[in-house]
Amino acid sequence: MKTRARAAWLALLCLAGATRALAHDAPYSFLDLRLGPGGLDGALTAHVFDLAHELGVAAPDSLLDSTRATAVADRLARVLGGRLRLVADGRAVPPRWTGIAVDRDRQALTLRFEAKWAHAPGALDVDARLFPYDPQHETYLNVYQGDSLRLQALLDHRHAHARVYDRGAQGRWAVVATFVGAGIQHIFLGPDHVLFVIGLLLLGGGLARLLKVVTAFTLAHSVTLALATLRLVDPPARLIEPLIALSIVLVGVENLRSRPGRDHRAVLAFLFGLVHGFGFAGVLRQFGLPSEALGWSLFSFNLGVEVGQACIVATVAPLLGMVRDRSSSGSTLVVRYGSCAVMLAGAYWLGQRLLLAAHG
């Protein structure tokens, strides 16, 4: 429907006698934001073809006349302002439109605006779907703070949101809060990681032993998470996801094969921790890493993963300890059936992911 609307408009223009100058193969606009301590100054530049469509003007070039442009400024501000959302630290900061200028070189109009805030925010969210009827439309978003270009992003119909962090302390805090939360969320929403950790805990053991197992897992996944995030090593998801499932099967097998004096969990945790780290990196990339705060976001996400893991250990280990203290046969049953359940779940994911990889 959106494409049809655009086609109709193009046809109308063509049949009205417009020729080559009006064809519009690459629809795009520009959104420049300059952040300051008291607010931001913005400039939104859009092609007259797209603006004419919004206004129902048959001759887009007529908008390049400054008197005409001034006359339509309020209408454009109303339409485009409704499709631009700025949120500073969770609080909407509505733009106040301040003027319009003709940009003949780009066959465009530039609408200027400003937004005020009491305190410079740690994070600014920008949502812009400026011409929603056109799925091919792209908006080049540049955010400046002082002399530095803090963010370069391309917004389109599928990715209409971008976030930029302040370069000061409040920005770092916003990064930490965002990515610690993302790490914790990922651990709890990713049942495969939870099950792997639970599988490692089923056999129990003293605090020192559990610490050794968990530390091995943490060390390993921290290394590969960093390597993959920095794109130094980048194995494909179709390889990593089945391997993560296999790790869950193997931790169950290892539990069932365990004998007194034979505990390879730390080794297993380290080896497969390397694989899980690549999985974490995939999630972190999907989350959208801020290039201007790469180190902080990586550190914070890892911290969040550790916090999530620590919560699992703090919950599961005492429960297993209680069972073990009450009855040794009960403890054996928990290890046996628990490990079988872990293996079955891992085998299910393994089959599912191998099938996906084969057909993907």
């Binding site: 063509c14 064809a23 540049n142 370069q152 992003a153 599928r158």
Partner: protein, 274 residues
Amino acid sequence: MRRMVMAWAALACMAAPARAHEFWLAPSAYRASAGDTVSLRVYVGTGFRGELKPYAPSRTVRFLLRATRELDLSRAARNGDRVMARFVAPDDGGALVAYQSNFADIELPSADFDRYLADEGLDAVRAARAQKPSGATARERYARSPKTWIAGTDSTRASRPVGLDYELVPRGAPGARSALTVQVLFRGRPLAGALVRAWHRPLADPTHPVDAAARDSVAPVLRARTDGRGLATLAIDAYGEWMLSSVHMRPSADREEADWESYWASLTFAKPLP
């Protein structure tokens, strides 16, 4: 009124081919001597007439210049810059510029998609779609890899592959002879049966192209399919600016993202007056 607009649109659609968009690099000059400054823009459009496409770092996988050595140009411009890079020719040897984008996506009504497949000569995909009932729309993701040759004395700069996902590799200096053989490589391997099309436009003067946004669309003047070694030969006998383009499509490696993935390669160059 609405009905009338739709009727006009239908008429216009009947008159126009399916809107498959070529993507090409346009240097400010197709020949450079040592010390000359060349600026690079990229255009998207149909029939070798297009609109300038600004630079987007987030869409860029590779952007390089090969002259006396290879230079990474991916940080030469900012997001939204309309000139993607400027460089000073280090010698008279010529320069090859290559760009590769990551995937962008598009969804087309099935009928439009089939028309576009026919235009681009993607017969294997058409046959596959004909065998299997498809939905009302086709989801495609596409990546682009244009190259341009700024002529000079060292043709090996043009004739060595760069290593783009999909690449047109000329055998010899493009525009130097009356026939040009290109090898079509997909991930470094020759691709048989690929359709290569060529468009031609006059130059503004012996080395400078006419602004691609200020000219009319033209139909391709040449077509050739690659043989088993991925080779296709085209008769580049007219003086002026040339664009070769080829599209390769296959089922998408990520079915959640798209049903099909296409790779668009182009090569622009000029055949100078003798």
